[in-house]
């Protein structure tokens, strides 16, 4: 399938591992140039860049705290200056507020709100003017299973992110800009200490119609499709990649 992504610029936040890294590799395979960022681990980001650039595409890496508008604007300027445009944004960076509502501290809430909700807003404000001008853009945000199964912190914030996505879809569809969410279910991923949920391992999940954990590659395939030329009429949606754990 020709996705029409060759030569396009794809910006991926939090591309050090898991979904971000898998998406970088998947977009590189389509011939897209990449602008990757992280706010902490440049070493790991460079590993991702190496994996992706093996396909011959250009890959730029930059430190960026996606909750800081000045740093995000600077990142997007890098993309415009080096590649001429930022065509696709994958707002993958996330931070989990775990536990029941009464267990989540005000600090945890603020940190999760900043990364999961404010950051995509800041990024979209930075990239949409250029997308409008070129009348082409794809924004992909991350939801998850939490908003559908219920989780006070993560479910609230990911759902807010879906609201932002719908608003962008509504406002900018006329410019050929689409905005969608991907909603991964139980995916086999590496977690930071303290952010484990206890079920992201490659064990069986007998209660799920596809009774196993998904892979980040299965998610990034969906992300690539949502970014492709062929997905131009899909907007404001959340596509669940969850083995049927929840049906919309």
């Amino acid at each position: 399938m020709d996705t029409g992504l060759a030569g396009k610029t794809v910006l991926i936040t939090g591309a050090t591992r898991n979904h971000g890294r898998a998406s970088a590799v998947a977009f590189a395979a389509e011939g897209a140039n990449l602008l990757l960022c992280t706010r902490q681990s440049m070493d790991r980001l460079e590993e991702t860049a190496q994996m992706a650039s093996a396909t011959g595409v250009r890959v730029l890496t930059q430190l960026c705290d996606v909750t800081d508008p000045a740093q995000v604007n600077d990142l997007v300027q890098t993309g415009n200056a080096e590649f001429g445009s930022v065509d696709v944004v994958v707002n993958n960076a996330g931070w989990r507020a775990r536990g029941s509502l009464l267990d989540i501290t005000a600090d945890q809430w603020e940190a999760a709100l900043a990364v999961n909700v404010h950051a995509p807003f800041i990024m979209c404000q930075a990239v949409i003017p250029g997308m409008k001008e070129r009348r082409w853009g794809r924004i992909i945000n991350y939801s998850g299973i939490a908003p559908f199964r219920g989780a006070s912190g993560q479910g609230t914030l990911k759902r807010a992110n879906e609201g932002l996505t719908r608003a962008i879809a509504k406002e900018y569809g006329r410019y050929n800009i689409t905005a969608n969410c991907i909603g991964p279910g139980s995916i086999d991923v590496e977690r930071t200490a303290g952010q484990e949920s206890g079920h992201e391992t490659a064990t069986e999940l007998p209660h799920v119609p596809v009774p196993r954990h998904g892979t980040v590659q299965e998610c990034s395939a969906t992300v690539v499709f949502l970014a492709s030329e062929q997905a131009a009429y899909v907007t404001g949606q959340t596509w669940l990649v969850n083995g049927g754990a929840y049906f919309l």
């Binding site: 009464l102 909700v117 404000q125 219920g150 006070s152 759902r159 807010a160 609201g163 962008i168």
Partner: protein, 247 residues
């Protein structure tokens, strides 16, 4: 209909504006005690306080507050609870009205403030009332969202409203075992005295029910969801919108 709301304490986070006054009066008619909040001056609640007494409310406390200020919310709820018991039912309808503008025209500060009042503020209120609900093994949390959550609208409205839908689902999952339910009501095209900007969806000939809804039709839903017999309904969003949008 027997709602079993007589003598229960109902907190309405914004009772001076939007659908707050009519909702307060609907609960007053059930004989509930009321804590009525507003983000404006307390005097703006005077009219609804008087009417609530006339309709049958046993006790009514007006409070001026900022729901995003956790310390203030906790202190006010603690104080009110000493006189009329802690809230059994909470109606979250605090909002920060903002004119509809393009994403590119909204400052980050405006966006942040909107989410702080509507999303963080709603969590602050819920956190303040949940411990007593858990202790009594009974609680009803009802949040007014709106059609923007589903139809898409300007970014702050859509994000804040859908965020509150997520919160209701989270509370529903975590606290259902304590007989606490959390649901949303999604009004659309409800006649209101206020200028609601993009939040008003005028009747359209293509609508299944092509007329304005009235506020009684909305507050009826709130009373139903708060009633004893709604104890198995949780994590849901009920749209009162004349069929403009189906979930």
């Amino acid at each position: 209909m027997e709602t079993n709301l007589h003598g229960k304490t109902v907190l309405i986070t914004e009772a001076a504006r939007n659908f707050g006054p009519e909702t307060a009066l609907a609960f007053a008619a059930e004989g509930a005690n009321l804590i009525l909040g507003t983000d404006g001056p307390e005097e703006e609640l005077q009219s609804v306080v008087t009417q609530a007494h006339d309709r049958g409310a046993f006790a009514v406390i007006p409070v001026a507050w900022d729901v995003s200020d956790a310390a203030q919310v906790e202190s006010i709820i603690r104080e009110c609870s000493t006189t009329m018991g802690s809230p059994d039912v909470v109606i979250n309808n605090a909002s920060l009205p903002m004119s509809a503008r393009s994403l590119e025209e909204i400052s980050f500060e405006e966006w942040e403030r909107k989410l702080r009042v509507e999303v963080t503020g709603t969590t602050v209120v819920c956190k303040a009332v949940l411990p007593a609900m858990i202790e009594r093994q009974w609680g009803r949390i009802i949040t007014y969202v709106g059609l923007p959550a589903f139809l898409g609208s300007n970014a702050p409205d859509s994000a804040a409203e859908l965020g509150m839908v997520g919160l209701a689902r989270g509370i529903a999952r975590d606290y259902g075992k304590f007989n606490i339910t959390a649901n949303c009501i999604g009004p659309g095209g409800i006649e209101s005295a206020e200028e609601l900007g993009t939040l008003s969806f005028p009747p359209d000939d293509g609508d299944p029910i092509p007329r304005w809804g009235n506020q009684r039709e909305l507050s009826f839903l709130a009373v139903c969801l708060a009633s004893e017999d709604a104890g198995y309904v949780t994590g849901q969003c009920l749209l009162a919108n004349g069929g403009k949008y189906f979930l």
